[in-house]
Symmetry: C2
Subunit: 139 residues, 2 copies
Amino acid sequence: MKKISKKDDYIIIVGCGRLGSHLANLLSVSEKSVVIIDRDEKAFSRLDTNFSGFTIEADAIELEVLRDARIDQADVFVAVTNDDNTNIMIAQTAKRIYKIPKVIARVIEPNKQKIYENLDIVTICPTILSAEEFKKIIN
Amino acid sequence: MKKISKKDDYIIIVGCGRLGSHLANLLSVSEKSVVIIDRDEKAFSRLDTNFSGFTIEADAIELEVLRDARIDQADVFVAVTNDDNTNIMIAQTAKRIYKIPKVIARVIEPNKQKIYENLDIVTICPTILSAEEFKKIIN
């Protein structure tokens, strides 16, 4: 555990599944200040033993939880729960209410990506990304 | 439905989930000859209405199914079921028994990618791919 200094990028990740934990581990190695939130304490077992960030066991759809995570100080907010509607909702909260400069969300259903288009939220759809990668290798 | 001509790349995709169907739709648009196999007929509803390939409702872990799909003529074999062990097994069959030039498999669990390393099978892990994409945007 390290203290968050003003110099570091402060990153909040919601969802500690395969993607959230993998990303948190990557960012932790590159010395970012990371807080990762998940409803299920067991999810944190995916984090590397030398993960240098903080974990919060709570439901991030509650504003109080985001406030406890000091969302007002975050530079980056990442929504990667396994539920598209949750991701859309919390990403909007981060963008509209807390004006987080960089908000990025995972989209599971490729056709839901359109919903984000007008919200100024960057999205990553692993299915689309992977299909394009497969296509590159095939061509 | 179109007839497979010798000039086209002949591509077999196993698994018509989000990724398999999205890839099949992409390849169909770029005029590749595609056969997609899934155990569950309902899975094919993910294909575009103008999907130009063939569908086979069957379990691809049975050699007979792969033979019926004319695996011996395939240029590319893609294993994208929702089960890593199935993907490893059928990808190996395609590579070792049928000597398919290009075999590509999806890996769900990032730590299983190592298993493929010595098998000359190209792998794509959507979690690793997506985490790297998130990291690029954050940096």
